[in-house]
Amino acid sequence: MNPFIEIITQPDNIAIVIMIFMVSFFMVWAFQQAFHNDRLLAAGLPVDGENDKFVDTFKPLVRIELIIALVVMVGLTIWSIAVDAPLEEIANPTLTPNPAKAPWYFLGLQELLVYFDPWLAGVVLPSLIVVGLIAIPYIDINPKGNGYYTFAERKWSIIIFSFGFFVLWLLLIVIGVFFRGPGWLWYWPWQEWDHARVVFEPFRDLSSVVGIDSRSLAGFILGAIVTGAYMIGGMVWPYMYWKKNNPEFLTKLGMVRYITTVFLFITMMSIPIKMVLRLVFLIKYVWITPWFSI
């Protein structure tokens, strides 16, 4: 069978196909409503739901809840009649499957393992994602766009969130599910998986690009400078920029919020940066220390 058809019709992967359709549908619907409200706002008109009246809970709300419950139940029943949950061979510690994949919703994190060591990809970054999500309401001080869809009134927060949600999360999941084969190598959907395939990629570290051994003292110092410059520059540069162009915003934000926001942002952006370093420049580590490597 065509490997692509084989992959997307695997019982567990049907969920991901459903996810892709549902997420795309709701993404379009959300942005459509946002742009619709933006037009209303521009014309000085009330947005959707602003002049809502009240209705009884019993029955209008209870009725719609019942209908949705029935629709979901029918849908899941059809899914369950049509597709059987797989049961593989009994667990065998001596027989490692290749690739050994985590459940699909964690494949984004497993994909990060290509670019970061496990302590970062598996522990530090996930923790920061959770902390960062919880922090969103406290660092987003824009009072507008509360309780209605809009894009114009909160462009940056939506762009940044959407980048994290659709690209760093969902896209990486889709890559992990459909494009990763044995040895976690990249396979196009029409390519046959080849268990004997080895790819020799001449990975190097950042300092070896300029001819310095990354495990020497000089390499260590260079790595520290680059990493430090990214962190410190990333923390300071937005400050300078806003100080010059929008000082009121900085005052309103305050120091604690500023540091949290910018720290979370540069941590998030370190993911696509390392992906480019790795995939385009074949650079494995930026900074190697005796205790950890980044």
């Binding site: 567990d12 969920a15 459903i18 996810m19 549902m22 997420v23 709701f26 959300a30 009330p46 947005v47 739901g49 809502d52 009246k53 009240f54 209705v55 009884d56 809970t57 019993f58 029955k59 709300l61 209870v62 949705i68 419950a69 029943t77 899914w79 369950s80 009649i81 597709v83 059987d84 949950a85 797989p86 049961l87 593989e88 061979e89 009994i90 667990a91 065998n92 510690p93 490692t96 050994a100 994949k101 985590a102 459940p103 919703y105 060591d117 496990p118 302590w119 522990v123 999500l133 919880i134 969103i136 309401p137 987003d140 509360n146 309780g147 209605y148 909160r154 949600f165 205790w291 950890f292």
Partner: protein, 257 residues
């Protein structure tokens, strides 16, 4: 022969009926309100809601759908528990028995499996909706935080359930997943700086998760208890905090300009 209204009338006059429903429903304002706050399940709702709560456009019903998926998982999960032993000698054959011995066992297992996938998908979409409507802004900051914890718990519920069939898929997914615990800085034996705390494979985070240095019987028991008891308990409590706060924060968010 009695007509239908006569029969219903007689049923409603019955002492037992009256003890359950207390009063007749006459579709008056009062009765519609009574129907909500007189019912322990419905009274999570206010008596009246804004129109947006009834139209699908605003919330997409996603939070409610997530909750419905959760209820379905609890019901199918409890039934599955009747047929399952969390031991490595029996777990796998118990799942096989579902296929060949238990009446409707296959569809029961399928509903639980696909329901779990579905819940993960809809909870993510619910979060996206809440973000896009800016509903995490004051006064709902705290409830957004509760939601994030619920999101994590949803993942963990699904993840711990993966191991229970004791097949290759679950075994290796859990092996890969818990290996991350070994990489924890300070507390995992492969993590940075752990040598300063004298961490070994036998006293690190991964050992605590698995109840051993390898995925074995203890790990199966642990994941079973997390999956069937501990996490559902925490998640259920947090869901009620979540729903309570939706109401106390003024219901579904309305445009504030």
């Amino acid at each position: 022969m009695k007509s239908l209204p006569e029969i219903t009338n007689q049923v409603k006059k019955n002492l037992i009926w009256k003890s359950i429903f207390r009063r007749d429903y006459r579709n008056t304002v009062r009765d519609r309100a009574q129907a909500v706050f007189g019912n322990v399940f419905l009274h999570l709702h206010p008596v009246q809601v804004r129109e947006s709560a009834v139209k699908l456009r605003f919330t997409w019903g996603m939070g409610g759908i997530t909750f419905f998926a959760y209820l379905l998982l609890i019901i199918t999960g409890v039934v599955l528990m009747f047929y399952y032993h969390p031991s490595i000698d029996q777990a796998y054959t118990d799942i096989k028995d579902l296929e060949f011995q238990v009446p409707f066992g296959v569809i029961l297992r399928n509903l639980h499996r696909w329901g779990a996938h579905f819940m993960v998908i809809v909870v993510m979409i619910h979060m996206f909706r809440v973000f896009m409507t800016g509903s995490y802004k004051a006064p709902r900051q705290f409830n957004w935080g509760v939601g994030v914890i619920l999101l994590v718990l949803t993942f963990l519920l699904s993840f711990t359930g993966y191991l229970t069939p004791w097949d290759q898929l679950g075994f290796w997914a859990i092996t890969v997943g818990t290996n991350m615990g070994a990489a924890t800085p300070l507390l995992g034996y492969q993590g940075p700086f752990s040598e300063f705390l004298h961490i070994t494979p036998f006293n690190d985070v991964r050992f605590a998760l698995l109840g051993g240095a390898l995925v074995g019987g203890n790990a199966l028991l642990r994941s079973y208890i997390w999956h069937c008891v501990a996490i559902p308990l925490i998640a259920t409590i947090l869901m009620f905090v979540h729903f309570w706060r939706v109401r106390k924060d003024g219901g579904i968010s309305k445009p504030q300009k």
